[in-house]
Amino acid sequence: MFLQQLINGLTLGSVYALIALGYTMVYGILELINFAHGEIYMIGAYLGIIFLGFFTAVGLTAYSVPLALAITLLLTVIVCSFYGFTMEKIAYKPLRSAPKLSPLISAIGVSIFLQNYVMITQGATDKVFPAITGDAGFTMLSTRVTFLQASIIVVSAVIMGLLQAFIKKTKIGKAMRAVAQDKSMASLVGINTDTIISITFIIGSGLAAIAGMMVSTYYGLVNYFIGYSAGIKAFTAAVLGGIGNIPGAMVGGILLGLIESLGSAYISSEYKDAYAFIILIIILLVRPAGLLGKASEEKI
């Protein structure tokens, strides 16, 4: 029972961690809580269903399920990163020098817009993800792990590893860290900050798309308002680990997934959605810098 909940929590937590990375990267660079990030995740979940439906219709799924899933994932990531890129250009870029609350309010507007955009174009009812993965799995230490759960955990771990390497080793990653430290100084040494910000949004949206696609395969159901609660939970995960801190987001996401699944198993499942908020409030009050974050001095 406990191990089973642990596996469920780990699966959920890896998804939260992927979304949390988008929040934390954008916050690290712009100090903006990208409230609409959850909607990108929701769009990713929808696109997964749409593209997979298309490939099933043209017969690719019958030919090879993994191939169809891989192409679907690729297309979902591409389209979602387009959405993220466009969102930044329209709603946040004009507000670079505005008061700090303006971009946050603008982000709330984007979030409402995207939710209703999907509701209008795709309908308000639940969408069903085609059950093509089945529930085959293996038993380990008397705990049942489906292949889907295992692949969600593995894929997330690999992607997080790649991202960490990208940030640490590549030139763009270095530029991203420089912009996060000091935007005007970075532009003085020849870094095009606008490009870096765009890249950040593209990467973050791509990660959210992967998370969305994986969740819709896992739960099998998608609707237009899943982005709000997933977004809030992922943000909580980012704050829990220390916002702006990339390993922090991973740790925070997995911790939150575990807390949620163990909490609903052992305390009360009715308050499942409240746990994230309670943790968010406690963390912000007790240790606003998060578990792995460093407390920053207030700039005057």
Binding site: E31, L32, I33, Y46, L47, I50, F51, V79, F82, Y83, T86, I90, A91, P94, L95, A98, P99, K100, L101, S102, P103, L104, I105, S106, I108, G109, V110, S111, I112, F113, L114, Q115, N116, Y117, V118, I120, T121, Q122, Y228, I232, F235, V239, E270, Y271, D273, A274, F277, I278, L280, I281, L284, L285, P288, I300
Partner: protein
């Protein structure tokens, strides 16, 4: 010329591409054509229209400057407000009552966000606490309107105070997120605490308010009750804005560090601000419960917080007249746009973004009321 054509072509292609997976080839082609025509048309018309817009902006600012200082306008507005129940149908009075409740709410939130500059994304929590305290006191203890209301307003204010005391150490967007979390926790609790709040089924059978043993059970008498509270709110807000407390709030909004250097106890005044905002949310909650005679957690979602915040932003942060106008617009507009109800929230979302980009001080907010860095 070719450059601008190319530009609109790229924009059109891009939007069609984003739209394609959601609505298919045909609709995307239509969108492509519309955007292709719209972008050049917009660029041309913008150059013609923009002087008019500027003039309109100056006009709006002039109106907003007159509004708070010249109180005679208040009495001019009062006359049509008094005659509404005599000339209008029930449907319109109903909308007016709703607008009144939202004016009180929006003015309450305006204290926190507009005057003091603390973003609150969970304001609906206080509204919910006010409404539920009233409903429970009324249905379980049998208290009448005039005893249940002060009691629930005290409960709401206390809740605001107790919650704000630890949270106010945070700043900016962190505070916003904590308030959001608070709002959600209140809603989830109301939804799940079946034995006390009756869960998702809500509480019904709330008694109508009475004045001198006269029951205000008709719509028009209730309208006057709401009107009374709206006027009370407006008068108190005008007085407090020009008071020592109001100026301290404004100083905190403009620059918290400078304000505390000038000897303002920022934490204390922020506490006043949040509790005072919660006070009015409590009143609005009581009125809402007394009007609907039935409340359920469904009325107190995050979207409601966003709606109230939109009223404040649309009208103009910190401007009392503007916030009233914002509340009226956002209550009346959905009623007018009933046929295109589906697109209402879409337009609201886009509208919030556009206002932030083009008129961050709100429709009627003057320069002085804009929040600065």
């Amino acid at each position: 010329m070719t450059a601008s054509l190319l530009r609109s072509g790229i924009i059109a292609l891009w939007s069609a591409l984003l739209f394609l997976p959601f609505k298919g080839l045909q609709a995307s082609a239509v969108l492509f054509a519309v955007v292709l025509l719209f972008v050049p048309a917009f660029t041309v018309s913008a150059s013609i229209i923009s002087p008019f817009f500027k003039k309109a902006g100056v006009g709006l600012e002039r109106i907003s400057r007159m509004m708070p200082t010249d109180r005679r306008y208040l009495f001019l507005l009062l006359l049509p407000a008094l005659t509404v129940p005599f000339v209008a149908q029930n449907y319109i009075i109903d909308v007016a009552v709703l607008a009144g409740i939202y004016i009180i709410l929006a003015l309450g939130l305006n204290v926190v966000v507009g005057f003091t500059g603390l973003l609150n994304l969970g304001f609906v929590a206080y509204y919910a606490i006010g409404a539920y305290s009233f409903a429970l006191l009324n249905t379980k203890l049998g208290l009448g309107f005039w005893t249940a209301m002060p009691a629930s307003v005290i409960i709401t204010t206390a809740a605001g105070f107790l919650f704000a005391a630890p949270a106010l150490r945070l700043r900016g967007d962190y505070l916003a997120l904590v308030t959001l979390g608070f709002g959600e926790i209140v809603r989830i609790t109301l939804n799940n605490w079946d034995s006390f709040t009756n869960g998702p089924n809500g509480i019904g059978g709330i008694a109508a308010p009475t004045v001198f043993s006269l029951s205000l059970n008709t719509l028009s008498t209730f309208y006057y009750l709401v009107l009374f509270f709206v006027l009370l709110t407006i008068i108190v807000m005008m007085r407090i804005q020009r008071s020592k407390v109001g100026r301290a709030w404004e100083a905190i909004r403009e620059d918290e560090i400078a304000a505390s250097a000038m000897g303002i106890q920022t934490i204390r005044y922020k506490l006043y601000s949040v509790s005072f905002g919660a006070f009015w949310a409590g009143i609005a909650g009581c009125l809402f419960a007394a009007k609907m005679r039935f409340i359920s957690p469904e009325s107190f979602t995050f979207m409601e917080s966003v709606l109230i915040l939109s009223m404040v932003i649309l009208g103009g942060l910190g401007s009392i007249g503007g916030v009233i106008a914002g509340a009226i617009i956002l209550v009346v507009l959905p009623e007018v746009l009933r046929e295109v109800q589906l697109y209402r929230m879409l337009a609201l979302g886009a509208g919030i973004v556009l206002i932030m980009i083009f008129r961050p001080q709100g429709l009627f907010g003057g320069k002085g009321a804009s929040p600065r860095n």
